[in-house]
Subunit: 291 residues, 2 copies
């Protein structure tokens, strides 16, 4: 039996349609949501990501401004720009694209963004709200997008066992908090590189979220038959069978589709949902800041 | 075989001695750490807790000021007082004792405290730092105290299985984040009222932190032989065998001491450590604010 594929692209377009209604309503009162993306340096993948984000803005009617800074920029220059954007009433959302040049302090930059304009949901105040069980604020985009994909499966997660593979501040940790929150009520285990018996822990879980960035790590033997498997990883791997010589691969081995009940594809699963949640946060910020 | 008792009172006195050195150093530059405790209404248990906190301040040389507000106080009155304390340079730590009268919004009050003076560690910014893996800030006192007690056991938690029973914003959730952080590296499962198979999950764990507030919930059959068991619960229960007719009881049944390898008592385990960590946060705040 083959897993049902959770089509993140389709869901993301649905969300865009819902957002257009809210963006129209904002337009009635003369407000157009405005996202500023700050890009430092010339990381090729980042340029692709930013372009995808800007296209999504165009599709929905969100204004997007892109600020390209040379890789020689200093930490202080980036902080000064953020300060200006914080004070600029025409700007509702601020995003500083990761990764930054290695000498820069990403946490300090996340800290500097006004939490109300923090559409990535990486500011400690916004992350802290998740610890408090408050999910009304700016949610980190990838975990929030996954919560929405889980709704698509219709699964009741109450009392189910969930494993989050990976403990990053951006995906793993907030994901665990969202799944364990009241109203969702999964029994969540955070599994990471120093854990033992990865495969056993995963195989015991009804829901598996893989966010480690190592292609093909999760094998079919790791997965409980019928489980929901969410693949967050996106890595570029060599593949001689395709013209470009390389393709995107997730953390989940393709064989898992024979065992899982539900599976997100890579690409076309979590990725588009992350962008849809970025738009959602931007629209929410515009709504909050303009009232 | 009987569990080794982890003596929280003894460790807390050790911490107080360490703090006295830092308080002396601050004194050299004319700074004396100053904690303000705001107490609303006349909850009897709160008065006991606050008195214990003030005594610990006296022992170590921290100035403590207590502000007693009538239970008829409004939310806005409390917020105004916090605002004054935020702006008062002579104040380094602000604590609003829980529980507040039911009509008050505890989260809004936690939000209002300057994160640098938030010695309870409940402000979203301070909780969010735990999600980021940053433990240099104001840590929530109970989980931080437990981390210190775990050091006492000498146990290496890397790859060990830990269960946190309870998911409150004050204990369970931050506890899970601290145990899963890099450098501690436990494989953490958050178990709560909607989880299934509580006893099995607990019995599979090398470390069990019980923070649910239901006396005697964790039975000896729930505990893996030799495991570390941390009892956060403090409930008052009737006991005809003592003169007062009641005594304090933890979440862990006394029979667990026959199975566990290490166990914290109630009282005298986590409780004194929570106060020691409150002092630690106050001294840290004074150090940070006076440089």
């Amino acid at each position: 039996m083959s897993a049902t594929i959770i089509d993140g692209r389709a869901v993301s377009l649905q969300i865009e349609d819902e957002l257009k209604v809210r963006i129209d309503a904002l337009g009635q009162s003369g407000v157009r949501p405005h996202l500023v993306v700050v890009l430092v340096g010339d990381d090729a993948a980042s340029h692709v990501y930013v372009r995808n984000k800007q296209r999504a803005c165009e599709r929905t009617g969100v204004i997007s401004t892109r600020m390209d800074l040379p890789s020689s920029s200093t930490q202080q220059e980036v902080l000064d720009i953020i300060s200006d954007l914080n004070n600029d009433e025409s700007v509702h959302g601020i995003l500083v694209q990761s990764p930054l040049p290695p000498r820069m302090d990403e946490l300090q930059i996340a800290d500097a963004i006004d939490p109300r304009k923090d559409v990535d949901g990486f500011h400690p105040t916004n992350l802290g709200r998740l610890v408090q069980g408050d999910t009304d604020g700016m949610l980190p985009c990838t975990p929030a997008g996954i919560m929405r994909l889980l709704e698509e499966t219709g699964a009741n997660l109450t009392g189910s066992k969930a494993v989050v593979l990976g403990r990053s501040r951006i995906v793993g940790m907030p994901m665990a908090l969202l799944l364990a929150q009241k109203g969702i009520d999964a029994t969540v285990t955070i599994v990471h590189s120093r854990s033992e018996e990865h495969s056993l822990l995963c195989r015991d879980s009804d829901l598996l979220v893989a966010a480690i960035g190592r292609p093909g790590t999760v094998k079919s033997e790791w997965v409980k038959p019928g489980a929901i498997v969410i693949d967050v990883g996106v890595s570029r791997i060599e593949d001689g069978s395709v013209p470009s010589g390389s393709r995107l691969a997730g953390d989940v081995d393709p064989s898992v589709s024979e065992v899982a009940g539900w599976l997100t594809p890579v690409p076309g699963g979590v990725g588009p949902m992350t962008i849809a949640m970025l738009l959602t946060n931007t629209v929410r910020a515009a709504e909050n800041l303009s009232t």
